[in-house]
Amino acid sequence: MGKTIIPIGPYHPLLEEPELFTLTVDGETVVDIDMRMGYNHRGIEKLSEGLVFDNSTFVVERICGICSTSHPWAFTRAVEDIFPMEVSMRAKYIRTIIAEGERIHSHLLWLGLAGHFLGYNTVYMWAWKLREEILDVMEILSGNRNSYAMFKPGGVRRDIKAEDIPICLKKIDSIVPTLIMIKKAVLDDPVLHARLKGVGVLSYQDAIDFSALGPTSRASGVARDVRKDSPYGAYQEMDWNMIVTQNGDVLDKAVVRILEMIEAINIMKYCLENLPDGEIDACIKDVPPGEGIGHIEAPRGETFHYVKSDGTNRPVRHKVRAPTFMNLPTYKATVIGQTISDATIILAAIDPCYCCTERVAVKNDGGKMLYNGQDLVRLSQEKTERMRRRMGVK
């Protein structure tokens, strides 16, 4: 029997974002896959190099709407790493609160979408209804549902008012019973067990070889979490557990995320209850020349930023590496040999976020680059022409 090629995407109801996956199938079994990216590339790194340090946080926030805390935090940590400086404890607590709120809403979003891909729309609706409560908390704390704009090098932009804390705590407490119900409904459901157990297994060795990050690696038994390995923010102030499971299948990835949500609620509550007093901003005036790196644990894994400064008010180089960049190749290890019907949920299990991953797209096609030097010159000339037109210069 001959092999058949099934394209998924770029515009496909399965994918929120444009992305092309080509599955080569032999009957029902997937024998090979190929990925094509670049539909989301917007030139964030280059844009960031044209902006002052304070404004770059807004650009990195727009790398991804779901990780809109992780990227600014990694960027501000990179800037703070260039020269010795101390962020106040209150700012660290506020950052932790926002980051854990994002982790809860991102994992709930994933849980809902995973249910949707399985055809289990009840989970989708429940999870997203619950997610609204946590978005309300974020709206009270930051003023927006998704892009929080709370971060700046040296501290945070907004303080948390004392009168908001009891309202937030009440709302967070109100989601716990439903979350536990969902946890039981998902973990004890024989249908989900039959559907997900042993599907798309990422072995321990593969997780190490592909350098998988975040819940994808922790489900395969690799205890890897930046919050424990290299503590930042307020994470060393309280006790919390790193969730690690051993099987590496889709069910375990779901278990890791669900249990992490409960941990995140505890961290968030601790921080809100024990918020220290103090300044929230260190008021950085100048950034001296130097290099800095910042890495934090995003909901999907480790987000890494590199910033190089030459003493002016703009970064000369800004490099972003998102967790999906490392996690997406594991799809090749997990999907081959599985059936087409499982291919969707195995892809969803790594919680892919393509707009995070879309850095510069150079495709090496048999030695020929998609963008060669001439193309880059042409792009640059076109941009100059456009800017001239906009500013009315001949």
């Binding site: 109801p13 444009p18 456009r386």
Partner: protein, 140 residues
């Protein structure tokens, strides 16, 4: 008003098209479908096939790779169809106006019926925008 347009407004099925967005508008569109906002009670349904769509919800700043696909998809929608530009990126390209990969704004590529600004617009704003669109086209 033509019969086709009248029938279209009764229960507009929407197709979601991301042209290089940051995911924010996309998840807010999905939020509109979930229990708190629940636009399905007005007959709006997210459809998986462009051939079934009455309304295109376009998000993102139209980068070079997606512009070609956007044109192709626009040709496939059954006409008449309505185009809703969601988010600041589709309206003015927002932050990405200086980006080398976002050369043209959306309304230079396909005709747009309504703009919903915001980064991201709240689900309430999206619902209000669609209601205004229906009023504008329906003339009531």
């Amino acid at each position: 008003m033509s019969l086709k347009l009248k029938a279209l407004l009764k229960s507009p099925w929407v197709f979601h098209l991301s042209t290089g967005s940051c995911n924010n508008c996309d998840i807010e569109i999905l939020d509109c479908l979930t229990p708190r906002f629940d636009i399905e009670r007005f007959g709006m349904l997210l459809t998986g096939s462009i051939k079934h769509a009455d309304v295109l919800l376009v998000t993102g700043s139209c980068n070079r790779m997606s512009v070609e696909r956007l044109k192709g998809l626009y040709e496939q929608v059954p006409k008449p169809c309505l185009i809703v530009a969601i988010g600041t990126c589709t309206g003015s390209r927002g932050l990405f106006i200086d980006s080398y990969n976002c050369p043209v704004p959306l309304d230079k590529i396909i005709p747009v019926d309504v703009y919903i600004p915001g980064c991201p617009p709240k689900p309430e704003a999206m619902i209000a925008g669609i209601v205004k669109l229906i009023q504008k086209v329906g003339g009531s």
